[in-house]
């Protein structure tokens, strides 16, 4: 029994090591060379550990951003109470999250093999974030403690179903956009993409296709997420810092004191760039372990599922309507600013306008909206994205995930997770 307990605690209970074993198995199955097996396994483990470190950097910056805007709006209540945080959550529930990704994928493969839904979900980083956020909701609903097996079973089944049917739901529009049935969308922007397509149909004008527009040159920097994150968060930190500099409230004075000898505005700008840096760290970690996992998943799927249609990351649709990408993002950006003010003024929630989500989801909704409703459809799709993301983030951070990983939900949770969140909560209530 001691041996089993030791293995359970130290291998299955240590997410980084468990992940290392899964990746090792995948690399061996793919018959990779010895050096590839060794480097791949280590890269996966290191990548997973980097995520926690980067999450800490993001939290340090958010813990300036949040109180700062709270002061700007003159709010009492804080959006963030006591919570576990990504790093602690990963070390406690990371094994269930990692395994449920793997089992959820196997359910996806089995469904694709035996039903007419031939979609194989290959967007690994979204698999990780979806699993993490759903686990965060389940553990929060269960009161902070959840049995490993229950969590694993519930998550695997939900994820397996979601990864199979989400691409199926968006496929009619994907055929319209790409002109064939070779690839599907496997991304958590599916809900806003559909909203964009429906709104485009209702209110748009298909004749006024976005690709007839001339978009000014010089917007290329919008394609680099590091830059748009730094730019937009920098602007918001700057505005907040300037307003605060003119306030005499005790809260404002305390915040300004945190900067020490440094000018508060410079301090705030450095915080905004730190936020962008934290996200870059997390993404690098995710890239390192997902990069080893997805090829193994792909190998399994192509062997087991004849005629599989890969469900891929949202940028697959961008080349089909590059202008709609920009329009969708602009719609999302305008919406985000509007909802930042409205949420702060009405429900006292400081919305973190997470640019990666707004960009990739807004752009996807833009392409879908353009397919049915031209320029107007693209802009509406983008605006609806901001609406779902802003209100979704408020509901999720405050009510669905507040004791577990609200820090992650504030920048990495996105459209489909917000739409499905209440359902996950309801199922968790039944199950735990």
């Amino acid at each position: 029994m001691d041996v089993i307990f030791w293995i359970a605690t130290n291998i299955f209970g240590t997410p980084a090591i468990l992940l290392g074993f899964i990746v090792l198995l995948g690399l061996l199955l793919q018959k990779k060379s010895t050096s590839q097996v060794i480097s791949g396994t280590f890269k996966a483990i290191i990548g997973f550990l980097i995520i926690g470190a980067g999450a800490g950097v993001i939290v340090s910056s958010l813990s300036v951003f949040e109180p700062m805007w709270k002061e700007v709006f003159g709010l009492e209540a804080s959006s963030l109470g006591q919570f576990m945080g990504q790093e602690a959550f990963n070390s406690k529930f990371g094994s269930a999250v990692t395994l449920s990704m793997f089992l959820g994928f196997l359910i996806n493969v089995l469904l694709a093999r035996f039903t007419r839904f031939k979609y194989i979900y290959l967007t690994g980083h979204m698999m990780f974030w979806t699993s993490t956020v759903f686990a965060g909701i389940a553990v929060h609903t269960a009161g902070g403690e959840a049995s490993f097996w229950k969590l694993l079973i519930m998550l695997s089944v939900i994820l397996g179903l979601y990864w199979t049917f989400q691409p199926a739901v968006t496929q009619p529009y994907m055929r319209k956009i790409t002109g064939n049935n070779n690839i599907a969308l496997g991304h958590t922007s599916a809900s806003v993409a559909l909203l964009g397509a429906w709104l485009g149909q209702l209110f748009g004008n298909k004749e006024n296709d976005s690709e007839k527009l001339k978009v000014p040159k010089g917007l290329e920097f919008l394609r680099d997420p590091n830059v748009i994150t730094a730019l937009s968060m920098g602007t918001l930190f700057l505005i907040g810092a300037i307003i605060l500099s003119f306030k005499d409230t005790p809260g404002a004075t305390a915040l300004i004191a945190q900067a020490g000898d440094q000018n508060f505005i410079i301090y705030a700008i450095i915080q905004s760039l730190t936020f962008a840096g934290g996200i870059a760290i997390v993404l690098m970690g995710v890239r390192m372990f997902i990069g080893e996992l997805v090829p193994a998943f792909n190998g399994i799927a192509t062997r087991l599922v004849p005629g599989a249609i890969p469900a891929l990351d949202s940028p697959v649709v961008y080349p089909y309507a590059p202008n709609a990408v920009i329009l969708g993002f602009l719609g999302a950006f305008a919406g985000a600013i509007l909802w930042l003010v409205v949420l702060g003024a009405t429900v006292s929630y400081i919305f973190v306008p997470t640019m990666i989500v707004l960009f990739f989801h807004g752009a996807t909704a833009g392409v879908f909206g353009n397919a049915t409703g031209g320029v107007r459809g693209a802009l509406l799709g983008g605006f609806m994205t901001a609406t779902v993301v802003a209100w979704g983030q408020f509901i999720m951070v405050r009510y669905l995930i507040s004791s577990t990983v609200p820090d992650t939900a504030m920048w990495a949770a996105d459209s489909d997770m917000f739409i499905l969140g209440p359902i996950i909560r309801f199922l968790s209530q039944l199950f735990f």
Partner: protein
Amino acid sequence: MKILCVCGLGQGTSLILRMNVENVLKDMGVSADVEHMDVSSASGTSADFIITNNELAQSLQGHAAKIIIVNNYFDLEEIKNSLQEAL
């Protein structure tokens, strides 16, 4: 030989491109070290070749690596033609 596959965020799309490039290279009998990453990281990473799309190629101008443009990351034929031309 080191090849970077690049997309905006360096998460999903560039990884799919990397898998397709690895397959094509295998068919061509070429062995190479292929990595995927985001456009910011790529601009500071040395490599022999960078494979990316037209828009991002503009952000990588001046990079020492030879830039290979592939517009459809899922079109194995296009990848193969571009690679054969460049290598």
